[in-house]
């Protein structure tokens, strides 16, 4: 049940790093590729990630999900390498690899023994500009993506609710559509669609290479010059802003799907670090998320799950590093015998409390202690550190924000938390989705045998 909850705010908060000991070194190639290196010599391994500034929020109607589709096609061969060879070469060199697509980015990664970094650099440089998009491969991979959508969304009540919720909450922001794309769009991608998307966004001047691990920065820069410097640039036209219009009143939606438990999602339109009028507002919202859901002592667990026992699970989430204004979300599953309306009232009462009174010193110092500790814990993972740098750079905040995070959170005051609660968690900007479970008819048959 917990798996479906939003990331508990504080557990995920350390996405933005502290003043970590190892420093990030930056090098920009003549063709615009930005290379970030963070040396970490604890273990003879390295993670290498290529981040492209493109994701579902870049997509126009009709081809939603095409960034994700292209991510799949990036494993289907180039001028130099046949279909599947990329993965085979990485595997034979002891590597792990994969890729992911979000609203604001598409990224590819390999984890290798440190002395194998060159293998991944050569392959990533190759597929940055020389991809083969073959009709017969697209045909099969379309089926795969359709299966992926069935698994993540069609057959997943929470996934389905979230999709309908986003589609309702946003009027014109591209965060309106799902990362995986609408079914009718998925079914109709063509090779030229993908070719155009690839040509347009996959270029050194629209990418960031992040390398973290047991390497020397100058060696990584030399390798990146060797493999990426020859690549041609694309003309990257600035995105249209697609600024979300102001919401003029509460919005509600009911989602009826075969399910067993009801649940509710509430989302307030809020600014993010990139769009906040004053930068501290985003950090204050981050702290606010921590007050509600920064662990088992936070208000939702303590007050609603244990105290009032109105919820069996409750969470809050805020993503301060989005490219566009986002939602501050509250999510809960009511306890047996409690209604969604009671749940909604209880969640709203928590919001009102934040508006009407200051959070306690104890809460504030707890959150600051957690942020400080997380800054140490996250250094346990190269992958996580690379992820932070890549994401901050790709959404346009700049990787340097990672170093500022602990300090900025530390400056947040109780009064500021109250101020953002009053300013942004307002009823007219609220969106609510109710999951209303429908009966599931289940029958079992033994086809043959039986043990």
């Amino acid at each position: 049940m917990n798996a479906r909850l939003l990331c508990a705010a504080m557990l995920c908060l350390p996405i933005l790093s502290a003043n970590a000991e190892p420093k990030v070194t930056e090098h920009v190639l003549a063709n615009g590729l930005k290379v970030l290196v963070k040396e970490d010599h604890r273990s003879p391994v390295v993670v290498s990630q290529v981040w492209y500034k493109v994701g579902s929020s870049y997509e126009p109607g009709g081809i939603t999900g095409i960034s994700h589709m292209l991510e799949h096609m990036m494993f289907k061969g180039t001028d130099k390498h046949a279909v599947g060879e990329f993965s085979r070469i990485i595997a034979e060199n002891g590597g792990d690899e994969n890729a992911f697509t979000g609203q604001d980015y598409t990224a590819y990664f390999q984890t290798m023994a440190a002395d194998k970094l060159e293998v991944s650099m050569e392959l990533e440089a190759d597929r940055m500009r020389n991809l083969h998009l073959l009709p017969e491969e697209l045909k099969k991979e379309l089926q795969v993506v359709t299966e992926e959508r069935r698994m993540r969304t069609e057959d997943n009540p929470q996934g389905k609710m979230q999709e309908h919720f986003n589609a309702m909450a946003y009027s014109n922001s591209p965060y309106k559509h799902p990362v995986i794309g609408w079914p009718a769009d998925i079914a109709n991608y063509t090779v030229p669609d993908l070719q155009e998307w690839y040509q347009r966004w996959y270029a050194p001047n629209n990418a960031t290479l992040v390398v973290v691990g047991d390497v020397k920065a100058e060696d990584v820069f030399a390798l990146s010059e060797k493999y990426f410097a020859p690549l041609k640039t694309s003309e990257i036209k600035p995105l249209k802003p697609q600024t979300e219009i102001e919401q003029l009143g509460i919005r509600r939606i009911t989602v009826k799907v075969p399910a067993k438990l009801p649940s509710i999602v509430m989302g307030y339109k809020v600014p993010v670090l990139k769009t906040a009028e004053k930068e501290w507002e985003a950090y204050a919202l981050e702290v606010l998320a921590g007050v509600l859901d920064g662990g088992s002592s936070a208000r939702l667990s303590s007050g609603l799950v244990r105290g009032k026992q109105i919820a069996v699970a409750a969470g809050a989430g805020y993503g301060l590093a989005s490219r566009l204004p986002d939602l501050f979300e509250l999510e809960a599953t009511p306890a047996e015998g409690k209604t969604l309306l009671q749940m909604e009232t209880a969640l709203k009462a928590e919001v009102a409390k934040l508006q009407n009174s200051l959070i306690s010193e104890e809460e504030l110092s707890r959150i600051k202690a957690q942020v400080l500790a997380s800054a140490v814990y996250e250094r346990d993972s190269n992958f996580y550190q690379a992820m932070q740098l890549g994401m901050l750079e790709t959404v346009g905040l700049g990787w340097q924000k990672a170093d500022e995070y602990v300090g900025k959170v530390n400056q947040v005051t109780a009064a500021q938390v109250q101020e953002v609660a009053i300013k942004y968690l307002i009823e007219d900007h609220l969106n609510i989705a109710y999951l209303e479970p429908q009966a599931i008819n289940k029958t079992t048959t033994a086809k043959k045998g039986g043990a």
Binding site: E92, E147, G450
Partner: protein, 437 residues
């Protein structure tokens, strides 16, 4: 933070993993085994206490182990759940409890700055030695577990997994889910939990794992302090042996989903299995190596039938499941199951090719350092070595054991251990749409 990302192009199948690091080992004064790795780079420590008290110890009270574990940090010594949570979180520590079929564990991640460390450790000590199992906490947590059990029923993947375990293990304690089932959890009482705790949460049934920035002396003191007050008690009896199914079977569960979830398998391998490395390397080739496995290639790359297709062994105290799985659009289930079975049977009869074996060895051996490149992973592996009482040089010999496998030894092991005449097949999905198409 909300990553909002999707599309890891495949779900990375969790592999059994091994690390190489200097593991120091001793016993506490009460006879608990301690496993320690000094890791000085970061001012932090990971501490786990693991008991042979998983759901396999539930008896007929399915869900007892899980609920006992879940109650530990809701009230202990003089503190209630809020106070316990705040004690950890005010020093930035992360604490959790959890169960598997074999184990019940308590885990702490904390900074090693003394004032912070001592508070976190003391809190964990009280949770471990003085849990209260208060009725109010019990009723609340029971209701939460009942909700979670109910919610399983909306997921075709969960339904398939429950049916699969049931089919493979019948009356064996591995058959039921860790969280139990509605009827048994409903019947639990707070006193059942207290009794379960008293019997299994004892020093002779505990191992302690410490990975972090502590000296050996500090680690010794930490282990002693943590378990002080825990009665010596007794190790539980060994679990019953697993009986193999006597014939193949296919079971279908009708469910209104767009995909059919398919699970095929039988009881597989255990931790001290002499065939372990042959099964491990063979499975890596068959369906364990993500983007390059045979199953992935046949099901997804060549035919586009599924998003994920994989196979795994889950070695436990007794043979855990060997599982081959995929999910596919309802109307192409028959084809997907045929491809799955053909791939499996072909592999078992012919074994891997030399090229496949060479590639697998290169991947496993070349990627060896990545198995323990964080304290978190290292602690997990050390806990496995400790709990399953594997040799301390397990990590050092791992690569060599992998290197020693051959086409012949792998083929032989699979033929003996994966009898395709006994495969159990579970499908969960909607056949009415399958017929309609």
């Amino acid at each position: 933070m909300n990553f909002k990302l999707i599309g890891f192009i495949l779900l990375i199948v969790s592999q059994t993993s091994f690390a190489t690091a200097k593991i120091e080992h001793w016993q506490t004064s009460q006879g608990s085994r301690v496993y320690f790795v000094q890791a000085d780079a970061l001012p932090m420590a990971d501490i786990q206490v693991v008991f042979d008290a998983g759901s396999a110890r539930d008896g007929q009270q399915f869900g007892l182990s899980a609920l006992t574990s879940g109650l530990l940090d809701t009230g202990a010594g003089q503190w209630n759940a809020d106070q316990i949570a705040l004690r950890f979180e005010s020093v930035g520590a992360n604490f959790g409890t959890g169960v598997s079929s074999d184990t019940a564990s308590l885990s702490l991640r904390t900074l090693t700055e003394p004032a912070l460390f001592d508070k976190a450790l003391e809190t964990m000590h009280v949770i471990l030695t003085k849990p209260l199992f208060k009725k109010a906490d019990f009723l609340r947590e029971k209701n939460r577990n009942l909700s979670a059990i109910k919610q399983r029923e909306e997921s075709p993947a969960e339904i398939a997994s429950l049916a699969f375990s049931d089919k493979l293990y019948g009356t064996h304690p591995y058959a039921h889910p860790d969280s139990g089932v509605m009827a048994t959890v409903n019947n639990l009482k707070a006193s059942d939990l207290a009794q379960f705790y008293k019997k299994y949460y004892v020093a002779s049934n505990a191992i302690v794992v410490i990975v972090g920035n502590l000296s050996k002396q500090q680690a010794e003191q930490t282990a002693e302090k943590l378990l002080t007050g825990l009665p010596t008690g007794q190790k539980p009896e060994p679990l019953p042996d697993v009986t193999m199914p006597t014939q193949a079977s296919e079971q279908h569960i009708e469910f209104p989903s767009t995909q059919t979830h398919v699970l095929v398998g039988l009881p597989g391998s255990y931790r001290k299995d002499p065939d372990y490395y042959n099964l491990y390397v063979g499975n890596h080739i068959l369906g364990g190596s993500g983007l390059v496995s045979k199953l992935f290639s046949e099901v997804r790359e060549k035919r586009g039938l599924a998003y994920s297709a994989s196979s795994s062994f889950a070695p436990m105290l007794k043979p855990g499941p060997f599982t081959v799985s995929l999910q596919t659009r309802n109307d192409q289930t028959k084809q997907a199951v045929e491809v799955l079975n053909a791939t499996l049977k072909d592999f078992i009869s012919k074994g891997p090719t030399q090229a496949e074996l060479d590639a697998a060895k290169k991947n496993i051996i070349g990627g060896f350092p990545m198995r323990f490149d964080t304290n978190k992973k290292l602690a997990t592996y050390v806990a496995m070595i400790g709990f399953y009482d594997l040799p301390l040089d397990y990590l050092d010999t791992f690569r060599q054991k992998v290197e020693e496998t051959t086409i012949t030894t792998i083929t032989d092991a699979f033929k003996r251990r994966v009898n395709t005449e006994l495969l159990q097949t579970i499908t969960v999905g909607n056949t009415t749409t399958a017929v309609a198409k």
